[in-house]
């Protein structure tokens, strides 16, 4: 890697992404929230996070009543890249950012500020403003096709012998991936091999986009705005170098973007609504709902149904996978053109890593009849991620 970004993998292993600061009042609230028991410290002692156990989800950070937990920042590096005329800086933003960024500027939660978000990023000096939603659509193409191959293998269709086992688990959530690697290595063959949208975007940016724009990939800096602290860990994983460079250089959170906008003196509320740049900036409704629990599943079902049946879906909503219950399940009848039969596809949606253990145990023991399981670490999905605006108005 020629382009080191100051956050070496060794440093990350020592400090982790999430740290408890001196402001800790030792109230023990965080230990009840942490899904992996990574936070140590007795009542009355300053708490400490074990980076080996921590899955970087940041739920402790957004729920700490004293604001005493913080995350590793790459804002300085992003500003340096923006100020360097020799660098070509591209940016992507996750779906969940656009319905929460407005909260930092006095708007109601859920207000869609997509257009203003693009405008503000241009004002900050990014050379191209693309969208993670493009990569979410790409994820559906790859992950959906992979699922179809696994199903064909399971029903004994010839030509799919090298496909993986069922059920297939989603692989978009970096906190869930680390949890699976740390606690259930036996389940890893069931994880979709498709990268997360953020990393797909990074790999495509420094190859396809660089080629089309005539920019040297070595001069390109790829930044992403995420509702998530675990994405900071993900972009620094040593294997995320498919483009020949670090695929995504820096990750900033929704909160950090809001801080940059305020610091630059941009009047966010009066910005015009702009569009993302073309080439890898177009998105669909399926990509938009990636930010909510059940959304990846619903997006995959919309595409899988149409590709497998060869029929157009009249009603695109799959309301059965929506909701906020930690574990939800549904069965969707999909007519399969190639096999001439109708297959009841059984799906499961898990939100909250605390609850995924028993689903995995069932799969490992052969008791599970699911085909596809979506897992998101944060309750409610990415919209409630560790990088989102903190709502302490409740305390």
């Amino acid at each position: 890697m020629e382009e080191g970004n100051g956050l070496s993998t060794a440093t990350l292993a020592n400090t982790g992404i999430i740290q408890v600061t001196k402001k800790c009042k030792s109230c023990d609230h965080c230990t009840s929230i942490c899904p992996t028991g990574a936070i140590h410290g007795k009542l009355g002692q300053k708490h400490h996070i074990d980076p080996k156990l921590c899955i970087n989800c940041g739920q402790c950070l957004i729920n700490c009543p004293f604001g005493a937990i913080t995350d590793t920042s790459m804002v300085k590096e992003v500003k340096k890249a923006l100020a360097d005329p020799s660098k070509y800086v591209v940016v992507q933003e996750a779906p969940a950012v656009r319905v929460a960024l407005g909260e930092e500027f006095g708007m109601d939660p859920g207000t869609n500020v997509k257009g203003k978000m693009y405008a503000s990023l241009r004002k900050l000096g990014f050379d191209k403003v693309y969208d993670t939603e493009f990569a979410a659509d790409l994820t559906i193409m790859e992950e959906g096709t992979e699922l179809i191959h696994r199903v064909f293998k399971a029903v004994g269709a010839p030509g799919y012998e090298s496909s993986g086992p069922l059920p297939q688990f989603t692989s978009c959530c970096p906190a869930w991936i680390k949890y699976a690697e740390d606690h259930y290595p036996a389940i890893l063959p069931n994880l979709s091999s498709a990268k997360s949208p953020q990393q797909m975007f990074g790999a495509v940016a420094k190859t396809y986009v660089a080629e089309k724009l005539g920019v040297k990939p070595a001069d390109m800096v790829s930044v992403s705005v995420m509702p998530c602290t675990a994405k900071k860990y993900e972009c620094n994983r040593p294997e995320m170098i498919a483009s020949g460079y670090q695929d995504v250089d820096y990750v900033i959170t929704t909160r950090e973007l809001a801080d940059m906008i305020k610091e630059k003196g941009i009047d966010f509320n009066s910005l015009p609504n702009e569009e993302a740049d073309r080439l890898v900036g177009a998105s669909t409704g399926a990509a938009t709902i990636f930010g909510v629990t059940g959304g990846v599943m619903e997006a995959a079902l919309r595409t899988a149904y149409e590709l497998l049946s060869g029929q157009s879906l009249g009603k695109v909503e799959f309301k059965s996978v929506r909701g906020q219950k930690p574990i939800r399940e549904a069965t969707v009848e999909i007519p399969i053109k190639d096999l001439g039969t109708t297959l009841p596809v059984k799906v499961c949606v898990v939100t909250g890593t605390k609850y995924v253990g028993r689903v995995i145990e069932d799969v490992l023991a052969g008791r599970s009849s699911y085909h596809f399981i979506e897992v998101m670490n944060c309750p409610g999905g990415c919209i409630n991620g560790g990088g989102q605006p903190i709502r302490r108005d409740m305390y």
Partner: protein, 119 residues
């Protein structure tokens, strides 16, 4: 403590005092319960609002299925699987797929070898 002494019924004064204290306790605990419930409800309300924000946005989008995104079709035809739309092509596999856990060191070796081939 006169109330512990065995002695007929409550006096009129004791009855007023007791019922007054009981009423005050009910009102005060009710207020605190309401306060607590509101705090709990408010802590969840923003999650629900952000969720419906995304579903509303989905409904407003002109295209609502990933495989109909024109730029997705373009990247397959121009780059990932030249001339056709074929997910999990060799190039897509190299750029868009990964490995987990103990398979990672081998994947890193493969990626470095790929760079040498390309160079």
């Amino acid at each position: 403590m006169s109330i512990f002494r065995e002695k007929g019924t409550f006096t009129r004064r004791q009855f007023f005092k007791g019922s007054g204290m009981l009423a005050a306790t009910i009102v005060i605990s009710g207020v605190f319960a309401k306060f607590g419930y509101d705090a709990w409800a408010a802590s969840d309300a923003y999650i629900e609002k952000r969720i419906s924000g995304l579903y509303t946005l989905d409904e407003k989008m002109a295209i609502r299925k990933s495989h109909q995104n024109p730029e997705i079709l373009q990247i397959y035809k121009d780059f990932l699987s030249p001339g056709e739309v074929k997910p999990v092509s060799e190039k897509a596999h190299h750029l868009l797929h990964t490995k987990y856990g103990q398979d990672i060191p081998e994947l890193i070796k493969e990626l470095h070898a790929h760079q040498h081939d390309a160079a």
